[in-house]
């Protein structure tokens, strides 16, 4: 009896306490009395906190790695850029007593060895080698060996070498007096790139106009993948094709002297650039609002007139950006020019002469250089130069494309 009488009483008394257990279930009766917990405040979960920190760390290191590349190439090139290297001194005879005073890299470069090879010799053999080299150098008493060929002046200005009758630009990194003039390489790169653009800009932009403005949708669906197929061909295959097939065919057609030259390399390079120019130009042309051409058509223009007089001028910055980005791609391309250009480092304006580009020089010579030596550093200077050129062209291209997009979208 007693128990039964107590039940409702205790139930009523316990009610507020029981509700306080279910904190997350808002009780409509109670909610007016106690403050609602803000939804955004949650208990910190240690595991999630750890994972989020890990995400942050991984991406931070990836981003640092990206900046590291910029820094590293610059760092290796820096001694040459700052003029701290002097290879004239290296070519003066070194006395045997001085061996401990010079660094291993310098010693290796002095003896014409790779740094790894130094370990194969004991101190006496090294001494002997240094003495022999000293005798050899003592016999050379020409003006050339007094020149520091790693200086800025020697890299960009012509020099009167002993064996030549007039001042010249010469790239000869492995001769007795290494000559590091970059002008032949820069000219080679510019020549090949210009040829590539001469070939690819009319074709790429023409095809972009046709596909975006004039072709029927059905043809568009067929043509676009075919051109995109071209971007899937690895550059080594284009280089192979230029070297094995195109060089012979073009020589037979045009009948010029040397089989491998700037012309062949430029056309193969152009093939590599066409997809980029086409894609960006086509993108710019299609992003011109339909109302532009519709307005022109309603004023009585033919589709061709609308495309040429209205759409193309509106998208012109995009077409320009396509050419700039194509330039950046062409000047950085390696395998095609390495295989098809003939690689002779001569200063010549003729498109039918062979050329040696900056990229091909790095590819051909990096495997042979002494790590940390002058030649190595000069190759990094070339790399930094390439980096700079592509950086500038990429930035210009990106800015132009973004501005154009903003303008076209702002007007509609």
């Amino acid at each position: 009896m007693n128990d039964v009488a107590q039940l409702p009483e205790s139930g009523v008394r316990d009610l507020p306490d029981a509700a306080s257990i279910y904190v997350n279930v808002p009780d409509p009766v109670q909610s007016t009395e106690r403050p609602i917990r803000p939804l955004t405040r949650r208990k910190r979960r240690p595991l999630e906190w750890l994972v989020e920190k890990a995400i942050f760390l991984v991406s931070l290191s990836a981003i640092l790695l990206i900046f590291l590349i910029f820094a590293f190439v610059g760092k290796e090139a820096l001694p040459v850029i700052l003029g701290k290297t002097d290879n004239a001194r290296l070519r003066k005879p070194v006395a045997a007593e001085e061996i401990p005073n010079i660094s291993e890299t310098q010693l290796a470069e002095y003896l014409g060895l790779k740094p790894g090879e130094l370990k194969n010799y004991d101190a006496d053999t090294l001494k002997l080698l240094v003495e022999l080299k000293g005798q050899e150098l003592a016999q050379i008493v020409d003006e050339d060996s007094r020149v520091n060929t790693t200086s800025w002046r020697m890299m960009f200005q012509p020099h009167q070498w002993a064996d030549y009758d007039k001042p010249q630009y010469i790239w000869q990194p492995v001769s007795e007096v290494p000559k590091y003039n970059l002008v032949p390489l820069v000219i080679g790169s510019l020549k090949a790139t210009l040829m590539a653009l001469l070939f690819s800009v009319p074709l790429g932009v023409g095809a972009a106009i046709y596909v975006s403005q004039l072709a029927s949708p059905r043809w568009r669906e067929i043509i676009k993948p075919v051109i995109e197929l071209l971007s899937g061909i690895p550059s080594v295959v284009l280089g192979f094709f230029a070297l094995i097939v195109m060089a012979t065919v073009l020589q037979n057609v045009f009948g010029y002297q040397s089989r491998l030259n700037t012309f062949v390399a430029g056309i193969a390079l152009g093939l590599a650039v066409i997809p980029i120019i086409f894609t960006i130009a086509e993108d710019a042309l299609t992003s011109v609002p339909k109302s532009y051409s519709q307005a022109a058509l309603s004023l009585g223009a033919s589709p061709g007139q609308a495309a040429w007089q209205v759409v193309l001028p509106a998208a012109l910055p995009g077409v320009f950006a396509a050419c700039v980005l194509g330039f950046g791609r062409a000047i950085g391309e390696t395998m095609i020019v390495l295989m098809a250009s003939g690689n002779a480092s001569i200063v010549s304006g003729s498109i039918l002469d062979s050329c040696r580009t900056m990229t091909a020089t790095i590819a051909a010579e990096l495997a042979e250089v002494v790590f940390g030596g002058n030649h190595y550093r000069i190759l990094f200077v070339i790399g930094a130069l390439l980096f700079l050129v592509t950086f500038v062209s990429n930035v210009i291209g990106d800015i132009v494309v973004h501005r154009l997009k903003g303008r076209l979208e702002g007007r509609t």
Partner: protein, 309 residues
Amino acid sequence: MTFQRTKRDWQSIGLTAFTATATAAIVGIVLMILGNIVWNGASQMSFRFVFGGTREGMFEASRAGVFPMIFGTLALVILMTVCVLPVGVITAIYLTEYARAESAINRLIRGAINNLAGVPSIVFGLFGLGFFIQFVGGGIDKLFYGGELHYGEPALIWAAATMAVLTLPVMIITTEEALRAIPKGLREASLALGATKLETIWKVVLPQAIPGILTGSILAVGRGAGEVAPIMFTGAAYYLAHLPTHWTDQFMHLGYHIFVLSTQSPDVERTKPILFGSVLVLLMLTFFLNLAGVLVRARIRRRARFGHA
């Protein structure tokens, strides 16, 4: 603005003629190159060529095989993907989900990533040789092997690391694109249901982004299979009698093999069949990868356009 419309609209005719010719020329050249390679390479295709080794003679058309090169290329690509995939995806997640989109640092990072995508591949080769082999590899040798050469020379792992850095921007950019295509409402719905940010990313955002991440890795792999310049001095070998067994071994690579065959062959006419055969194998490899990438991406774009998940 008025448009003069004469009986014959010469401007229109001229433009159409020129642009159509340009298009036809490009399409013609592409088909000609591919046709030439397929025509000349098909005769070399055989089970023995694809799965045969080079021990019988690298320059003999009737005996040479490309299996070591296919093996090396695949090993490179797999190692590269293992390196680049997690790092690329995590960085993309950080940049889209966590970093403040409009901050100056974020813009700088995005600019650096975009720029890295346009850096000449040979510069990556320079970086790989100087940083990975000489600095990292040389450092490991000095620390653990007392200066004995183990890691401080060209090796599969360094070539893969170099290629991973090269493909990192592609990976980040495509993953970011995929993450952005996911409607914001989906994330908000998940958060509103009480999921934490990490739960939302892991259970809602990432599953949606998988096709995009897949495209990115396929594109990266396609590039990794075809790019030769960065691996020339970071790990690819001219000729090896044995398959690589460890990641510090050098390896043979299809693209580098093509370069070697076409520039250093003692007799170009005699090695031509092997050359065309190798090119065909490489093309098939990269094309299938690229095709897969394009198809997957087209599907994502279509889905993003219609907005349903």
